[in-house]
Assembly symmetry: C2
Homo-oligomer: 138 residues x 2
DNA sequence: GATACAGTCTGTAGCTGCTACAGATTAAAG
DNA sequence: CTTTAATCTGTAGCAGCTACAGACTGTATC
């Protein structure tokens, strides 16, 4: 209505809808500086544009890929300062990838132990249980 | 000194040491009912015995195996009511195992995406980066 | 016994990453 | 014009701990 050039502005609920991000989380990301303060209407309503949509999607996707909030802040800082280089980002990605692999290995070990122990269970209605034994006595 | 029959009692720091559980976490587990209130000395110091050691180890091991606090509370409730059966415990363990496997699969997908995307990186000192592209534009 | 220092007690606040709610204001719909 | 929906702000709550302040013990040394 009042925007002469750029595309239309979104209100918070709309941004929430198009990104899938929880309504309150948007405000939280603004408060913590991950999202910039948006323009406001005369009456104080937040008005978002495409840059906000992209940035929020960036955050959510990074989150989906398991990047920590700290990592994401780091990437955003690079971008905001236009200091990002493929070299740097690749390095950070590979570091995160290493963390993910460690986590997978940890979980696989857990899987092993659980599967092995459960396999020893009779599964009967008796109080003795190899799982509980394992937890109590190493 | 004042215990005529049972083994010696541990103070909180000692329980912490033998189990590896953080000092304050012990108090937290008591507050939340996962650990029973221990006996007290005349002057109010907590005095733990072997049953506390076992129970705390149980909690910590279950935690290490990725059981949620809720799951652990559930197991402890069974045990406390002497209602535990191998059948029931096996079932819960297998349910948790399924969760672990789901988690592993999720992480593997993440690993894939990260590895593939990072592989497209030139790794040079240029601002364009496939990782950032992927995060910004799907 | 005096003194010093460590250990313990309690209640409460802090942390992360959100999510929810209360009370006021504004927008949209009928 | 009235009702309902959306938004605003500040603040509180959640899990699962962890940390700290201020008071009280326990032990060691002199």
């Amino acid at each position: 209505m009042d925007d002469h050039n750029s595309g239309r502005r979104l209100k918070r609920a709309e941004l929430s809808k198009v990104t899938g991000c929880h309504l309150e989380t948007i405000r939280y990301y603004e408060k913590t500086g991950m999202m910039p303060d948006p323009r406001r209407s005369k009456t104080g309503y937040r008005l978002y544009d495409e840059t906000h949509v992209s940035r929020l999607r960036f955050i959510l996707r990074a989150r989906d890929l398991g990047f920590s909030i700290e990592d994401i802040r780091g990437l955003l800082t690079l971008i905001d300062g236009q200091l990002q280089t493929c070299s740097e980002v690749k390095q950070r990605t590979e570091s995160h990838l290493a963390d993910v692999r460690t986590k997978i290995d940890d979980l696989k070990r857990i899987e092993q132990v659980l599967a092995e122990t459960a396999a020893q269970c009779s599964g009967k209605d008796v109080p003795e249980c190899p799982v509980l034994e394992a937890l109590f006595h190493v």
